[in-house]
Symmetry: C2
Subunit: 384 residues, 2 copies
C-alpha cells in the first residue's frame, strides 16, 4: 500500500478533527466510545482529537449523566454556544430578525414594520432595531455574533449590490453589502429572499429530503427559489428564479386579481385586500372564488414553465399567501396536472412567514460549515 | 493520528488503483515516476498498484519510447481498447451511430435515414443497421461492446419507457429499453436526446468548462437540455427540459415560421423548407429575413423563461438549425438582451448534427466511470 508522507499525516489529522465536529454537531453530549464509533476512529485517536478540539475551544467536556453507574464516562459536545448567528428578512413591509446558536437553533425572533416607500435611512434604522431587539431578547452582545445573513427582495449581484428592485425605491442601485458592513461589525452575507426561503423549506420545512424543489414565493410580490441536486441554485450572476420578469409567464400582475376583487369592502387598506379576498373565498363567496380562479390561472403559467423545465420532485407554495393554502392548493394542483408531463407533489409551506428569516439562519450555518469543512483550508481557528 | 484498520487498508488500496486509472485515462503512456507524481503515491506503492492493474487487465506495459537513453523506463497505459462503447442518436429522420474506445475516442460513425412515420420494425431495423455499420467499419465484434447508449426524441421515464412521443408514432407507449435489450446483448442505456446533446457540448463543445448551461436543441423539433452545477439535469422522473410543452413559451410551433415562408419555392420537400428559408435569409431575401425574425420572436420567449429562471453562464444554440447560427445568433442575442436580468453568453454549437451521438458516447463513458469510481462498489472487475 501507499506510504503516508508528512503532508498526508497532518491532513489526515485535520480531517479527523472535522469528522469529529460533524459527528457532534446537532447531537447531544457523546462519550468517547460513541464518538469513536460514529467517526470510525480508534478510541485512543478519538481521545487525541477531542483533546485538541477542546484546546481550540470547539468542544467541551460535560459532566457525566446523573445516576450513571460505575466509573462515569467522559462526554463531549460541540460548543454551539461559542458564537451566534443572526438572520434578517428584509421584506417590503416587515423586517424580521432571528438569532441562533452555531447549530442554527433559533433562540430569539423580532419583527419591525416598515413602509414600502420608506427612505434608505428609515429602512436601515428598522433593520438595526430588529437586530438589536433580537440581541436584547437573548441577552447577547453584538461582539458574540459571528455572521449576519440578510435575505432581501430584489436582484442582488454576487458582490451584494442591488441590481434591480422595482418594489423598494430605497434599494435602487444600492451597494447594500457595503451599507450593512458599515453598520454591523461582523461578517455580513446577502442573498435573495426567495432562495433563502427555498433553502429553509428544504432544510426544515415542506421539502425536507427532496432533491429538486421549486419554491413558489407568492404574496403581494412574486418570486421563486430553486433547489437542484439538493442545493440552492443561485445562477452565474446570482440572478436565478426571476421567472416573474417574463410577461408571458403571467406572474407579475397575478396578485391584482386578488387585490381588485369586487368582494373587498371599500376602505380596506390596499395591503389587506388580497387577504380579504382569500378569506372570502374560503367562506364560499362566489365573486372571491372567481378571483382566486383567475389568480391561479395566471400563477399556473409560470409554475408550469418551471415544472416542465426542471421536473422537480416537489413544488412548495410559500410566502404570505401560503396561509391560504387550503384555498389555493386544490385549484393549483388541478390546473398544473393538465399542463405537466409528470405531476410533482404540491405542498404548502410549513414555515409560513418565517421562511426567509429561517433560511437566512440556515445560510449562515452553511457558510460556517464551508469555512470549517473545506478541504485544505488550513488548521481550525481558535474560538476563544 | 488514527490507526488504519484492516477494512481501511483494503479500501485505501482500492482507492489507489482508481486514482491510478484516473491518472492514466486519456493520457499517453506514463512511466512509474510520472504516475507516482500524478497520484501522490510513493514509487514502490505505485509499482504494486500498476502490477495489480495489469493482472486485472485494466493497464498494460508499452515498449520504451524509441531512442531513449540509458536503461529504458517501464511505461504503462490504460487499456482504453479493452472494450468498446457505442452511442446511437435515434432522430426523427436519421439514426446515427458512433463507436468509441473506453476513453470515448470516436473510431467510427454511420448514419441511416428513416421515415418519421416508419413502423416500429422499420425503426428498429434501421437502428440495427446503423450499429452494424459502425462495428463493420471499425472491425469490432458486438461481443467486445460493453455498453450502447441511446439518445432518443420523446420523453422517456427512468425505466426506459416512452412516456410521450408526439413526433414518432412508432414510439408511443413503447418499452424502448426492453425492445433494445432484446436486440443487443450488452448493457443498454437510454436518455433524452437533448440532454445528451447538452452533455456533449459541455464536455467537448461550445460550453466546455461552464457550470450552468441552457442548450437549445432547435431544428424541425424543439427541445432543451440543462447543465446545472456542471452536471446534466434529468429531473425527478427524467422529464426535464420540456419547455416546448408550454403553449405560452411559444416554442412548439415556432419552426412553422420557417417552414411556411413565402420565399420557399413550390415543390420543395417539406423537410427542406426551413433550410431553404434560412439560406435565403443569409442571402438577404427580405421575406425570408422577416420569417426568421418571427421565428426568433417565438424562440426567445421559451429561451428567456429558461434564462430568467436559471441565470446560466452560457446558452448554446444547437440542433439542426445551428448550421445557420450566423443568421440566427444576432437576432436571438438582441431580443434576449431586452428580456433578461443578466445576459448570458450565447454561442453556436460546435458539434452540430453530431451532438446527440457524441453525447451518447459521453454518457456511456460516464456510466463506466460511475461503475469504476463509486466508493465501496467492491473490487475492480477483471477485464479479460
Amino acid at each position: 500500500m501507499a506510504d503516508l508522507r508528512g503532508g498526508d499525516l497532518s491532513r489526515l489529522r485535520q480531517l479527523n478533527s472535522l469528522t469529529a465536529i460533524r459527528a457532534m454537531r446537532g447531537a447531544g453530549p457523546l462519550t468517547l466510545s460513541a464518538l469513536a464509533e460514529r467517526t470510525g476512529l480508534s478510541r485512543p485517536s478519538m481521545k487525541e482529537v477531542a483533546d485538541e478540539l477542546m484546546e481550540l475551544g470547539w468542544v467541551e467536556e460535560v459532566p457525566p449523566s446523573p445516576g450513571s453507574m460505575g466509573r462515569p464516562a467522559r462526554r463531549y459536545r460541540f460548543r454551539a454556544d461559542s458564537g451566534y448567528l443572526v438572520g434578517v428578512d428584509i421584506g417590503g413591509y416587515n423586517i424580521r430578525a432571528a438569532l441562533s446558536d452555531l447549530d442554527g437553533v433559533i433562540l430569539a425572533e423580532t419583527r419591525q414594520p416598515v413602509q414600502l416607500d420608506a427612505t434608505l435611512e428609515e429602512r436601515l434604522a428598522a433593520i438595526q432595531r430588529a437586530v438589536s431587539g433580537c440581541l436584547a431578547l437573548s441577552r447577547t452582545a453584538i461582539e458574540d455574533v459571528w455572521t449576519i445573513a440578510f435575505g432581501t427582495i430584489g436582484v442582488i449581484d454576487v458582490e451584494g449590490r442591488v441590481v434591480y428592485s422595482a418594489a423598494v425605491p430605497a434599494w435602487r442601485d444600492l451597494d447594500l453589502a457595503g451599507k450593512l458592513r458599515e453598520i454591523f461589525p461582523c461578517q455580513v452575507l446577502i442573498e435573495n429572499d426567495s432562495r433563502l426561503a427555498a433553502m429553509a423549506e428544504h432544510r426544515r420545512g415542506a421539502a425536507r429530503g427532496a432533491k429538486d424543489v421549486v419554491f413558489l414565493h407568492v404574496g403581494r410580490r412574486m418570486g421563486a427559489g430553486l433547489i437542484i441536486g439538493g442545493k440552492v441554485h443561485r445562477g452565474f450572476g446570482a440572478a436565478s428564479g426571476e421567472i416573474a420578469m417574463l410577461p408571458e409567464a403571467r406572474w407579475f400582475d397575478a396578485p391584482d386579481h386578488l387585490n381588485t376583487c369586487a368582494s373587498v369592502p371599500e376602505g380596506t387598506p390596499p395591503e389587506d385586500a388580497a387577504g380579504y379576498t382569500l378569506a372570502a373565498a374560503r367562506n364560499g363567496d362566489p365573486v372571491a372564488l372567481e378571483a382566486v380562479g383567475r389568480y391561479i390561472d395566471d400563477l399556473v403559467v409560470g409554475t408550469a414553465a418551471m415544472v416542465l423545465l426542471l421536473d422537480p420532485e416537489v413544488v412548495v407554495l410559500g410566502g404570505g399567501f401560503s396561509r391560504s393554502a387550503d384555498v389555493l392548493l386544490g385549484p393549483l394542483r388541478e390546473r398544473l396536472e393538465r399542463r405537466c408531463m409528470r405531476m410533482p407533489e404540491v405542498r404548502a409551506s410549513t414555515l409560513g412567514d418565517e421562511c426567509v428569516v429561517t433560511g437566512a439562519i440556515d445560510y449562515a450555518v452553511d457558510h460556517l460549515d464551508d469555512q470549517l469543512f473545506t478541504p485544505d483550508r488550513g488548521p481550525l481557528p481558535v474560538t476563544r
